[in-house]
């Protein structure tokens, strides 16, 4: 299947924007940037319906939420704890996302919880019977958690409409995938749950998008869940201050050649969709947009103490009986 020029252009806009976002936010303290992993994020979450739900991996979460319609300045304000953020500064906005965009983030720092919870969203979608689907992503480290096993098995038993995407960047903090997983691919684990397991070159955003879309179509048709091992590489450190000096130089060098942004640019030029000048123009526009959003968010006020809300513990509404 040859993707048309419009699709390639749309994907490029997002990957370019993602690169700028991850690079610039990676300069903020404590951020977990996803430079080099934008192909997986864009490929996973592009082309879904507004009524579908996503639950993205924390690395690349802001790009995913922005793709769903969340405002960049407000998302960045969330990273900084500003009152203009979606939670007014009550939650760390680098990993927790506004659910009003049908985008689930992490309400705690516990990996695996979004896997469980997104499986429940898929259960609701299944009960609703309106062909809604859920796409969730997580790191390969998380695929060693019990929550992964339980979620995938439950989703298979109940034939839930969900696509599980492992954003496999080779490292869980400093722990290498080849140390912590003894199967050749995370996708191999799918066999144990009786669902399809597919390994994809995550840095090829087009291949990624196509693999996810066929899994989404399968889920929408009521045929159940799919596990996708999206192989990529963590160019960033685990978080801003991580020197990342444990990645072997030759390994890193070989992956830098497979940078998803470079691959996509080469493809767009080779297919004659855009010239190098046009591509650079788009990157510059993304940089300007994000630089401005960061500047605005940084200038936004901190929350006043009225946001503390000591009595705001429970949803006060008692459900009216129909």
């Amino acid at each position: 299947m040859t993707p048309d020029a419009n699709l390639l252009t749309s994907l490029y806009h997002l990957v370019a924007k993602g690169r700028v976002l991850e690079s610039l936010l990676g300069k903020l303290p404590g951020f977990h940037p996803g430079v080099g992993e934008e192909g997986v994020v864009v490929g996973a979450f592009f082309g879904l319906k507004d009524s579908d739900y996503i639950a993205p991996h924390y690395r690349g979460a802001l790009l995913a939420a922005h793709m769903r319609g969340a405002d960049l300045r407000r998302l960045i304000a969330g990273v900084l704890g500003k009152v203009t953020s979606y939670s007014r500064g009550r939650v760390r906005g680098d990993i927790c996302l506004p659910l009003q965009f049908n985008t689930l983030g992490m309400f705690s720092g516990v990996l695996g919880n979004p896997l469980n919870i997104s499986t429940g969203i898929a259960l609701a979608a299944s009960l609703d019977g309106k062909q809604g689907v859920v796409v969730t992503s997580f790191g390969e480290g998380t695929s060693n958690l019990g929550a992964f096993h339980e979620s995938l098995n439950l989703a298979a038993c109940l034939a839930l409409p969900i696509v599980y995407i492992c954003q496999n960047n080779g490292y869980a903090m400093s722990t290498r995938t080849d140390y912590a997983l003894k199967c050749a691919s995370v996708a191999d684990r799918a066999q144990g749950y009786g669902m399809p397991g597919i390994r994809v070159e995550g840095n090829d955003v087009v291949a990624m998008h196509q693999a996810v879309q066929s899994a989404v179509a399968r889920a929408r048709a009521g045929e159940g869940p799919t596990l996708i091992d999206a192989v990529t590489y963590r160019i960033s450190g685990h978080y801003s201050a991580d020197p990342n000096d444990y990645q072997p130089k030759d390994e890193r060098a070989s992956w830098l050649k497979k940078d998803p942004l470079l691959l996509l640019k080469a493809r767009l030029q080779a297919q004659g969709v855009m010239t190098e000048a046009q591509l650079n123009e788009i990157e510059k526009a993304a940089e300007a947009e994000i630089t401005q959003a960061i500047a605005e968010a940084q200038a936004d006020p901190d929350p006043g103490l009225e946001v503390l809300g000591p009595d705001d513990l429970y949803s006060p509404v008692l459900e009216r009986v129909a």
């Binding site: 705690s108 429940g120 259960l123 006060p316 129909a322």
Partner: protein, 326 residues
Amino acid sequence: MSQLTFQEAVIQGISEEMERDERIFHLGQDIGPIYNGAMHSAKGLGAKFGPRRIIQTPISESAMVGAGIGAALAGRRPIVQLMFAEFLGLGLTPLACDAAAMWYKSDGTVSVPLVIRVLYGAGPHRGHSEDYQAWVASVPGIKVAMPSCPRDAKGLMKAALRDNNPVVFFEHMALYHGARQEVPEEDYVVPLGEAEIKSEGSDVTIVATALMAQQALKAAEQLRGEGISAEVVDPRSIVPMDIETVRRSVAKTRRLVVVSESWKTGDPLSDLTASIAEDLAGNAPLKIARVGLQNTPRPFAMPLARAAMPNVQTITEAVRRITESS
């Protein structure tokens, strides 16, 4: 009115709410019409509502709790039965770390209407009795119900199913198939956070929930014969705690005994005791005693298990200890 056991009352509450509200479904292991749930905790529900609303799962507590949370976020009102309170730990991170925080952290845009059911308590079962209420009561954002009788059990279950927050509902196994009680047939709820004075008195306040509330009532009866007038307050929900009703009672009696089937260490009733002391100790002498499970893991052999547990005798002894000396 009809005479129901605790278990029948819980199921009647669930059944009535499921009939009213299509969004409610029930997730659990072995809850379908073949087995009807551990200790018949879902008896008749599978036959009545079918497999799309009474959904059986594999043994996967973490995924079950997570699935309940996710479905709640997407507009459903799930019940998740975890069989026993012992298993709460397996599903605790999605519940306590994520669901409990969602309303507050989302600045009031995300609520989680979810009921988690667990069996617990020393009784007919030779295992699964541990009272782990403290695990869930210690995290802000989770409500915890601990009914002591069929009428409260049904009313609290109906309130839990109409609440927009996560509620953990403890069902005591010694009460489960025990004494029947008149349970109203008309629609009623027992609000979470509303204590009831189960027996009025003037000399001492005894606070207890579930089986311990029943024991406290027996103790109060015995003490009455000795000329000691004990007021038994059953909070009915541990979270929210109706501190006001307890405070009013203790302001009158100036003596407080809290009785818990749980360990005194980290016991939510110890927290209540501290709050009462904070509020009232400065005004006039205040006598306090705590009765709880021996501070070890629960021993197994029946004589040991009985001796480690609070009972009518240890309650009356505690009451005498703080009444005789004054």
